[in-house]
């Protein structure tokens, strides 16, 4: 028997595979038993009601996709009354993703959502901060530190900070999140992108721009996961473009302690179940007793020292 369990701060996960926020909901329970997953990560909610962005909200771009769903939300009350009880039927820990327009509103929601049944809070600090010209909190170290401190003060639950690829300061932002009190980093969210229909000359998304996810994002978020794992002592959860067991191995070897699978579930709703089986088989085949042996096993050797200079173009 191989051991698939991993530790994310105080939280033990039975395996390192979990869904990414916004690509999972209770609806997946009609397909397979959610208890198979390492954790259950919900779509980001906001305190109040929100409609989300105009349609079309998704489009394809060469083997990947863009989305501009936005954050339609039924509010915190609805979540606590309806969703928390639903997930209590499962033994995989519930991780609730939240966001806010300002650091204070964010912190208030963080406090309100700290209820029994919630195992950890993923703070989507990749969302726009309206006090900073709409720039995402996690684009800069200072706004990251500020919001993380407020969030830390608002809850005793584990806090996972979800970073954005739309920054040139990955390592500094990662350190700021750690200093601000994050228990883990989720690396990363989607990358701001665009697509135009040349026939109609119209942008393909109703919101003009949207986030790139799927296989094309992987080299970028893998690079970030690697940088973050080097920069901080808290666990890193890799996310971006994972659709196969090899993608998972790559993130773990780069230093991630667990991974989130997003868009791939749209293509194959059972992909996470399949990957868990394949991970177990891989470890058995390579005579590894625990998946933890893989984490951070990248053979970067002396070259690792130069990583700090790689923030801009190589």
């Amino acid at each position: 028997m191989v051991d698939l369990s991993v530790q994310i701060g105080d939280l033990s996960l039975k395996n390192p595979i979990m869904p990414a926020s916004g690509t999972f909901s209770e609806d997946l329970a009609t397909v397979f038993d959610l208890n198979m997953l390492g954790a259950l990560v919900t779509k980001t909610i906001t305190r109040g009601l929100r409609q989300g962005n105009p349609t079309p909200r998704v489009c394809e771009v060469s083997g990947s996709m863009l989305n501009s769903i936005g954050i339609p939300s039924k509010g915190v009350g609805h979540f606590i009354t309806n969703m928390v009880p639903f997930y209590q039927a499962y033994n995989s820990p519930l991780v609730v993703s939240i966001s806010g327009n300002t650091a204070d509103e964010f912190a208030r929601l963080c406090e309100e959502i700290s209820v029994p049944g919630v195992a950890a809070i993923e703070v989507n600090i990749s969302c726009p901060n309206i006090e900073e010209d709409g720039k995402a909190f996690a684009m800069r170290p200072a706004s990251t530190l500020d919001v993380m401190r407020k969030l830390r003060a608002a809850t005793d639950l584990p806090l996972w900070a979800k970073l954005t690829p739309n920054t040139g300061e990955t390592s500094d932002v990662a350190r700021a999140a750690e200093e601000g009190g994050a228990d883990a980093l989720v690396v990363s969210n989607t990358m701001l992108s665009m697509s135009i229909d040349v026939q109609s000359r119209k942008p393909r998304l109703g919101n003009l721009m949207g986030g790139l996810s799927g296989p094309s994002l992987k080299p970028i978020s893998l690079r970030m996961a690697y940088q973050c794992a080097k920069a901080v002592d808290i666990p890193v959860i890799g996310c971006g473009g994972i659709s196969t067991i090899d993608d998972v191995l790559e993130y773990l070897i780069a230093g991630a302690s667990a991974v989130q699978v997003g868009t791939a579930t749209f293509i194959h709703p059972t992909v996470m179940v399949q990957i868990i089986g394949e991970l177990e088989a891989y470890l058995a085949q390579h005579n590894m007793a625990s998946v933890r042996e893989l984490i951070g096993s990248v053979r970067d050797e002396e070259a690792a020292d130069t990583v700090v200079f790689m923030e801009a173009a190589p």
């Binding site: 329970a29 397979f32 038993d33 998704v58 083997g63 339609p72 749209f266 194959h268």
Partner: protein, 281 residues
Amino acid sequence: MTAAVLHVTPDSVPANERVFESECLVKSNIPVNNDYRLLILDAPAEILNCTPGQFFHIQCPVRGGHQPYLRRPMSIYGYFPEKGELQFLYKIAGEGTAALAELKTGESLNVVGPLGQGFHIAQDWQNLLLLARGVGLATLAPLALEAQRLGKKLTAICSARSPELLMSIDYFRDLGAEIITVTDSEGTSDLAHLQGVIEGLIAGPGIDAFYTCGSNRLLKLLQEMGAKHNIPGEIALEQQMACGLGMCQCCVRSFRAESGIVHKRVCKEGPVFDLQEAMGW
């Protein structure tokens, strides 16, 4: 390879809510006329517990320069658990459906479903009217089968650009439906003419419910007539989809509700909606 479900759904999920990801084998995939093709799959029995109006989310192959990434939603045209057969009627619209058209007999196709909420037929409804144009027939065809099974009387008004493009007429006729055809080329498909035909049916045998899909024009016409004569109805709607399962919220449309205008997911709350709730686009 044989057709197979790729995983086990939990027992806790009621049988009619289970969704399967399965590999199916292509039995045939041939044109029925210049615009439309019929795809017949050999499908595992589990996935054929369907309701008319539901759909599958199809992974079109990567083929001949076509690289569809997301799945494509397709209404169930026919489902036959006894034969282990699942059918789709489709039109080549772009990259994904063009790739689908290249699938050959014996090849495998990955489908997810059955998905969404289908049509309802109330027990006391006897005379059903189905109004369909173009590929909308694909969505409404299994309703005709269900109506026959339940012993309901069905009238189908089939609309198309020209008589050659009228599809499924024999299919409907074999199921005992009365067929009325209207076409653009014969000048019989305009709203005024359609309205006259429907008024005639209401005054004659009577109509207990309307079923339609797809067209904004037909939606408005049936909404007006439904409101005027107090006849309920349902419409199947389309919207671009990513997950097809209710998770991503990309497929929302606006609907009238008591509380005002609300967003609903076409893949989950739909694709079949109450006729009067639906809003034109």
